[in-house]
Symmetry: D5
Subunit: 150 residues, 10 copies
């Protein structure tokens, strides 16, 4: 009943797992100054290593670029590479942050992972590379807390 | 860097595609009366048949059971079976509704598919099996409209 | 470490299960007229018959009394009697509605059960005794839909 | 009227009280770095030691793991062990925080207990093990304040 | 420590109870046409007849005037006359509606009483004089439902 | 028309004024540690000393107990004692804070008084006993600002 | 201290009162079809005839044009002409609606006047020229209700 | 200072005006059934014919397809073609609806145009091709009303 | 058509301009302690010096009184005196703050002026007399930002 | 079908690109004091240098003027000059901030650029000229985060 053309029913572009994904960087056009770039990624999904069932998260990434900006298409593919990959919530969130930090060598970076509830209890994970510089303006990520029902 | 134990890195339980998924039903304990059951599924993802990239949707399903209720674990697996399956937004939403209607033979059923934006323009799809019975109470689905930024 | 005085650590007043609970009624002081009474019960919990784990729900009950109003303390104890009782979501919600309808013989009654998510998918259940009278004013229950994260 | 199969109507898995509950821990995969893990538990209930009636709370726990992460299933059972246990609001919230701190030996931990109103006045309790480290990012818990009606 | 000037510490103007209060009316300047007037009264309080403790409500009154409008200062004093008066929630709300209907002889009137929670369960009461005329526009009262915490 | 049984129509329990009210305290079970207790009191009313008309406020009280916790029933009665008492907004809010501070000898205390508008302009009052200790976690009170209409 | 240049400190363009204001109309470019035009006017102010003090309102006007559309600059000036004009809430709102109906000869028109609170009680006024045509789509005005504080 | 590579600084793909834009259609895969497709377009801009300054709108389009669905890329380009085109609010909104209706020959279509304020007063425009079929489910568009400030 | 009794149609009490307005002060009953008083004034209007058209603002004033409190009726009249007075947004907001600071000699004062949009762009102005004392609690003003539409 | 008068269909006033736009300044009437001026610009659009398609952003600019204020009409035209200009998100936002800083020589300035999502992931950019002075009050910009759907 669903659309089922031969060539379409398979994912053509997603890397098979995070290790296979390339994260590209481009020169920062304002490398002489401190500013923050934020990516909001509400479309993240991975696989629970214990149950094999899908997990979902809303990710928010803030960083102060130094010489490099992340190339946004490669970021999207990198995040998509978790689609068939087993990953625990705490581990996965911090690992994404560290991979970005290694690639971009930013002045500072943080990631918030806001995971959908399992067993009635969602997990949020907050990591940053270190104390944020005082002279830079970094607004709250402002993701509403999980609240149950009512 | 991410967790990568041999047995865990693959999805073990998700059906390969919607046709392979079984949707089970159990007897309705209140078949003598009209009532509505609503499922909210904010964790739906499929593959865009054109680009091969992931799509995401928030699905809400309302139905008035007749003899059958949907078995909730099988519903979850059925929805999960779209994970690696190509499907257009309008088509996919209506097809899920029709599959449920065929399986459950409900007195009435509707589905709302609230898709994440592509090209700056999200698509929502609203389908029902026919006019809702006057004597049944069916609240609005109440999903906030997409609003852009600001 | 928690407070643990001998006499306090056990529930003294809750009925052991719904069948043991008495639901009292008092005369309606405005039996000559149609009006609606709404109870919002955000503190409902029962036990999942399959897993033995607790379930939680936010319940909203609307009714048009005829000769009787529900006695509110007995309603609270009746709802509390599900605390150690196994009950499926759809069944439990409708059964509470029917018990109230049997006891109060109202002109009309409805119940909305808004259950906390399990497996990422919450269930809502909506039941009423029949079509609401046209001449009575019955506002929406207005419970926000489940939305996941983000 | 409710579902009442013999084997299902009793809670099989919940520990009888907090002292009987085991809180497990697993190794922290990122013990070389500071990050925060947040659990939101909107499904907490205990018994009022004075009246024997149920109390409800929305709990939010933040911690910076050192060598250990809490094992999430044991956390769920530990919190469930308060279901038939008498506990005052202030005492209970702080005691849960201290039990977690003793078990996990975290670098830092805090707990917010947002209790449902009694006598028209809800109580919130906020405890932490000490001043939060400056270099770690810990967002507000963001639980909306109680507001009465209107 | 509080301000305590002799003449000020007593209420000078509130009627002692609803029966002592006068509800005045003034001519409707647009008696040739149907329109709705809404009063929102978030400052209502009365006394619980059982416990002697204060109760609070948020009241919203809608009416289609015929020959008379309510004089707003007398409405305020009438509502204030419940301050030291014992009244049950359902009864009180409907009685206020009936008193207004008797005094104003409106084409139609309704009242919503949104009471603050007692025992964890708030009561809302909705009464109207009859079916609202089709040709008049009467927006929802839009009072948010009680939601507990979280 | 309202319920008017002889014994019920009078307030039996409220102290006549704040000076007559007793504010009780109980031992702090966690006196070895710093934590915050918050009371939200949306049901406060007093009398305007100038006009004799009722005033209403939403009060939020935060404190770090030292040896004592406030006994919550006596707090409720103390606040209720303002019901027939004349008090200016600024004065009343600070006086309540000081009375609590004198009684509880807390390590720190603050009170926010959010008054309903008079003359189109609401007054909010914010008082604390002194600078809050750095090592304690004290969330914002989060009361939405007055906004008029629209 | 404020800016006070000779030519600027006086209103040059506002009509002195509603009777002096001209309300212009322009041809409807889609007179062959039914559609709704909505104006939201959150900047309305007039004078209370009793106290001489300013009143404020948020006005929303919906109409189905027939041959004419209102010229928007003249609408703005007409509404501004109430700035120094005495007008009661109910009367003023309906009068504005009638003036627009007389000028535009629309197929249908309604006005909602959402007035800022006086004496703790805001007044809303809802008027329309008659039953709205079934075949036209007219969304709710969606103005949040007054809620006091908290 | 801004990025200014030779080939990039010009719009390459937008049609010069609505008449030059092609609106394509594709076959409806569920032509045997009634359902609704919604597009939310928060990125619409045109030119004010009077002042030559940019105008902005948030557009929401709902339709029940018959034989055709709109091809979404061509819709995006069609809406983009207003970027340098003069158009009044009421006229433009209805004209877009009519162009879609002519192209798609839908069973029913509506458009809501929510324009940004000019002169302190925003205009909303609501048009549909006729009464919506009773048997189809069409949720509210749910765009929040303009509210000014506060 | 509007109410037009001879004595009522003119403003009797508003000062003609800010210089003519008297701002009164009364003794601070808690001069021995630091606390904050907040006034929210959503009903402010002045005249644009350039166009002669009305401007509107939502003002929020916070101060720590020393010996004096502002007399609230005189504050209302002072703000009302801008009704027919020309004033630029930035200048007017700061000037009001300075006038209050001069009159009240407070320990500290700030004013936020949230102006309604002109030309699609609202202006907000934030001024304070100096760094706020560390030991005083001053909540955010919490006025929602302007957001356009959608 | 749309309005198409010869003289109106072209933008008459917008500068062709940012370099052609003049940004004017006027003297600061309160140069003796520190205060913040905020502009919210929800109507910003530019062209993507890669695809030639329109981009949209919500911009918020805060600054502490020294000798100069920005002339608001020239600011509007300057922002409008990006309408047909190619610009990357990060670059464009910082470049606008630097242009304002160069022109106004403010004591401090910051800009937040909240871009509409592309590829499911919006980018926000936050830049300021340096650490904000301690003694000035600068509220959060308070723009809600992007949240996807649900
Ligand atoms: Ca720096
Ligand atoms: Ca039926
Ligand atoms: Ca927007
Ligand atoms: Ca009836
Ligand atoms: Ca979501
Ligand atoms: Ca650290
Ligand atoms: Ca009528
Ligand atoms: Ca809840
Ligand atoms: Ca301490
Ligand atoms: Ca401490
Ligand atoms: Ca407003
Ligand atoms: Ca028609
Ligand atoms: Ca309230
Ligand atoms: Ca049909
Ligand atoms: Ca001080
Ligand atoms: Ca300074």
């Amino acid at each position: 009943m669903t659309h089922d053309a031969p060539a379409l029913g398979r994912a053509v572009a997603l890397p098979a797992d995070p290790d296979s994904a390339t994260l590209d960087r481009v020169p920062n056009p304002h490398a002489d100054t401190d500013y923050v770039t934020r990516f909001v990624c509400p479309e993240f999904t991975s696989i629970c290593p214990v149950t094999g069932q899908p997990d979902f998260a809303h990710l928010v990434i803030d960083y102060i670029p130094d010489r490099w900006l992340v190339e946004s298409k490669s970021l999207k593919l990198y995040l998509g590479s978790f689609r068939n990959h087993g990953a625990f919530h705490e581990d996965c969130t911090v690992a994404i942050g560290k991979r970005l930090a290694t690639t971009l060598e930013p002045r500072w970076l943080r990631i918030g992972g806001y995971w959908y509830p399992r067993g009635g209890i969602p997990i949020d994970v907050f990591w940053q590379t270190g104390k944020a510089p005082d002279s830079v303006w970094i607004p709250d990520q402002g993701v509403p807390p999980y609240r149950g029902r009512g």
